[in-house]
Structure formats: C-alpha cells, structure tokens
Symmetry: C2
Subunit: 356 residues, 2 copies
Amino acid sequence: MANPLTPDVLLDPVVLTRALVDIESVSRDEKAIADCVEDVLSKAGHLSVRRLGNTVMARTRLGREQRVILAGHLDTVPVNGNLPSTVVDDLIYGCGTSDMKSGVALALHLAVTLPDPRYDVTYLFYEAEEIESEFNGLNLVAQEHPKWLRADLAVLLEPTFGAVEAGCQGTVHALVRTTGRRAHTARSWRGTNAIHAVGEVLRRLDDYRARTVTIDGCTYREGLSAVRIAGGVAGNVVPDACEVEVNLRFAPDRSEKDAAEHLRKVFDGFDLEITDSAPGAMPGLDAAPAAEFLTTIGVEPAAKLGWTDVARFAALGIPALNYGPGDPSLAHAPDEHVEIGKIRDGAATLYRWLAP
Amino acid sequence: MANPLTPDVLLDPVVLTRALVDIESVSRDEKAIADCVEDVLSKAGHLSVRRLGNTVMARTRLGREQRVILAGHLDTVPVNGNLPSTVVDDLIYGCGTSDMKSGVALALHLAVTLPDPRYDVTYLFYEAEEIESEFNGLNLVAQEHPKWLRADLAVLLEPTFGAVEAGCQGTVHALVRTTGRRAHTARSWRGTNAIHAVGEVLRRLDDYRARTVTIDGCTYREGLSAVRIAGGVAGNVVPDACEVEVNLRFAPDRSEKDAAEHLRKVFDGFDLEITDSAPGAMPGLDAAPAAEFLTTIGVEPAAKLGWTDVARFAALGIPALNYGPGDPSLAHAPDEHVEIGKIRDGAATLYRWLAP
C-alpha cells in the first residue's frame, strides 16, 4: 500500500486529519497507521526516530535548553459505521476525528514541517490508549524506555475543544462494610440489621462537603460518591452484612496515601478496604514552556476533571496538560466529528508557540 | 405393605410417633403415609372419612353444639441422614419427630381411641405444608371443600414445645425506590446520587418504633426490617437508581390493607411498591372451646411470631392456635428430635380437654 500520508497531505493538518482517520486503527490493530507515521517521520532528516511495538517516537536534537513532548494516541474505539470520513460543511465526521486523530495530525504536521522549533520537541504517537493499561503504549515506553520521556512539559493532544486542561484528579475506590447478626424478621429484635447500619455511612456521604482546590489557577472540585450498594440474605432474614462501594475523586495536592487516609477518617469506625486507586497529576504550569504556552494560547487553563494519560507524565515528574481540537463530549460517539476551524486554530497556536 | 399403624401402635402416642416418622413422607411423596392414615381412620366406626389428594379428613358426627379441628401436616422437609428414627434416653430422633409427626400422632391417637369427645372433632391430616402454598393440602381443602373446615376452633399441632401460641403476625414486603441522575464520578455534582438518597429511607427505618400489641393476653411485637438493598451502575458512575426491600411483620389487629397503608406513611415521599403480603391471624381465644382448652392446659398463651397455617383458618373466620410437643427450634435440623415426656403430656392434656 502506498503511504497516504504524502508530502502534500502533511502540509495541511485538515487534510492530514482525514487521511489519518481513514487509516482504520482500532486498539490492538495499529500496525498500518504506525508504519505510515514511522515512514514519514523517518524521511524527515531533522528527526531521530525510534519504535516500540506500534508506538513511534521522533525527536529533534537541537541542543535547546528545554524539551517539550507532543503526544497523541493512534488507536480508536471500535468503528461504528462511521468510516471512511465524510465532510459536511465545516465538520469532518468519522471514527477518531475528535478522539484524537485531529490532535495527532497537529503533532505530525509540526513534526515534519517545523525543523527548528524553539524547544527541542519529542513527538510521541502511541498505541492502545482506549483499552487496558497493560497495552497502553505510553505506559510501555515509561517502563521500557523512560529516557524517551525526558522533558520539561508534555502536551497531550486529547480533545479539549481548544481549551487547556491541566493536571488531573486522582481516584480511589473503597468498600465500606457493616455487619450485624441474622435473625428471622418475625423476631427482628433478636438480630442486628447490617443494612440499617449502613444508614450512618450514607449520612456521612450526605454530610460530606467536598473541597475545591485551586492550583496554578486550575480549580479542582473533589467529589465523594457511593457507586454501589449491596446487602441482604433472604426476604425473611435480618441481614448480617452490607457493603457500599465509594469513589473519591481528589485534587492532585493529595497523594494516593493521603486520599486513602482521608477516606478512613470520613468513615472512621467502619470496616474500610481500599480496592484501587490512581494518583492525580499537578498542573505544573509554572514551568517556563508551560507559561509560554499559556501566553501564546491566551486562555485561562482549567482543571482536567477526569483521569487521563497526563497522570502518567506527572508520575514521571513531567508537568503535563491536555490541549486538542476535538470536542470531548463527542469522543466514542457514532456521530463523532471535529470542527475544521478548531484544527486550523490548534495548528496556528502550536506553531506560534514552537516557531523559532 | 402391611400397615405399620396397628391397633397396638395406635394406643401409644409415643410408639405411634416413631411409626409415623419411619414412614418417609417428604413433601410431594405423602401417598404411603396418607394411605396408612386413611386406612386406620376408616376402620374406626365413629368417624366419617374423606380424602383429597394425600390429605385425609375424618370427623365425628355426635351432634355436639361445638366442633373443633385438630390438624397436622403429614409431610417433612427432605430427609437428612436422619431416618429411620432412633431413641436415645427419653428422646426420639429422626426427620419429622418435632415438625410434626409427634403432633400428628396425638391427633391420630385421639381420633381412634376417643369415640365420644365432648365437642365434635374434625381431624385433618394434610399434605405439602413445607413447600409452596399451591400444593398445601389445607389450602386445597379450603378452596375445594371449605365445609370440611367448619369449626369453632382449630388446634394446629405444630411444634410449640407444649406452649400455646395463638394467632400469628401478618407479613408484607415492599420495595422502596430512589432515583437520581447519572454522571461521571469525576463530575459528581452534575448528577444526583440515588444511593445517597436511600440514606433517608434507612434513617426512617432506624427511627422506626415498632408497636407491641396485646390481644387476648397474647403480645405481638411488630418489626420493620430492610432485608435487601441494591444499587449501582459502574465504578465511575453516579448511580441513578437504588432500591431497598423492607419486610413489616404486623400484629393481627392490622389488616393487610392497613399494613400496606402504614408502610406508605412510613416511607411517605418515596416510590413504594407492595410486592407481597399475607394476613395475620387474631388469637380468637374468647371462643368457648379455646377458653376451656386454656383452662385445661393451665399455661398462659403467647403470640405466635412467625406465620403459620393458623392464618389459613383465621382467613376462614375460625380461631386457631398452635400447640404441639415438638421443639420449634429443632424443626428442619439434622438432629431433629422430640422429648417423649412432651408427647405424653400433650396426649394427656388433649384427652383431658376432649374427654366427655
């Protein structure tokens, strides 16, 4: 197959977006797109290129004082009758248009058209972001080639609709359990009802006042939610066990350990088991390239409320933010699309930031 | 097979208990025992005998002013390595010894040995009490031959360990549901958590003060219990639905309709669905045969707290009470047994009550 990412296509990030969308690349099936991307990067004399699985890394070696990463994942969720791409007015429709081949197009366009950026740049096009962490290309690079990720700032081109979303919240799940003593409901006073005892757990959830924390101008609003509750033995038995699963989303000024400790305090007196957690990521907007990026883009950063791969960079000590042309609310939708104007704006903004 | 219920055996309620226990009669397999019982009743010239399925009814027709029923079920729960019966000291061990072939033995012994009781007596030996109501012999008789059940008092020889337990509580189950609005837990304030909303339901359960009602000297203690709770969508979703199943056990001065109305009041403001209910039974101890029975036995009656077939009599307007030699706490247990002394006491008491 001739590489559809021709020199002409690479010159126009809008055309390039369509070309990338039309190379189907559902998670675990990214070889074709990774081959095309590796091919065009290798032909650019100013880049040194490496590959791990279907993850492709290319970087300038200009000896700049600072280095930034532009990163995007090559995979998409399963196609949903929405390929090949179509254009309607100023919208490109198709699987991956928003999440996130329009972002990938910005990075790939800059990689081959900007040989002398003001910072050294590492371009990272990685596989398997939409599925389990064990397959995630960024995760694999972090484990096997952490040096590839050395940088002063990472920009993840995930859909933000042109906003800057910095850092991310952490998350922790826990089971809160109550116990009691079984009895026949006809003689309920002989038992102790574990479901009734959960009332106090729910009261604490209801009384809980979540923090709002502002870091580097980004406001993180925490939240503590019951996500599951289960208890009961039979219709005529006072139940002796009940459990509530809770999920705390916490601002990145707390560590995972802090967050777990906080939950233990909230549910003091109850049996509590932490079942999983993931750290948040500080916005890290005081790094020089980040400050300059914000000046260039001219909008106030906001906190990223979900968990994204920026946390993987944060875990390596690299400030990271999300910035991309796609609309996050359209990600994974059958009518996924991207505004052509947002692609052009994004390309212009990144160019202004990185041009010498 | 020769009928093991020989005239000699019928003369001694203890020997008769063992003989009945040794005719295996798990629910839906009562033909053999019903045949033996029908056979001996038919041979007693003072009784007129009828049969429906494996339920056998025999009655005196002495023209007494009042009629009482002595009733017992012929079936047992599945045998659990506890047949044939064994005797250890003053205990008979085996499946059905307590629940309720010792009670059946009292009735059958009286049926054949007391030709001229002071009340007319209807003896009812019925099938399938231990399983679904649709098979219950008493239920089938009530539907097909309600005349067989005409009486001024029914004594159900279920295990009470020699106590008199009168009437029974009613029971009603209901689902109390809360709803909310889904949201990602990272943006939990955009949703409404249906599990948190259940807190108020549990608070009302916790605050609930159950009534204690005394009727004819029997004290019924009500109870309202959550018996099951379930809710949740996924670990990262604010749930939009939760439900609690509650069980109210109510004193027989409330009707099923009253009980349902009461639940609606307790959970006012919540979506509530009644899923099933069964009426209680008034103790009805002011009927003359009941008063005389209590005088004879010389102990204070207590309320039956569970639901038993006495409620089927009560539904027909017949006062009913439980009185039997078995220990209710041994019913359905692998080491089920009955005290020989309790059988002799029971036989003597019933004889004193019924003898002319």
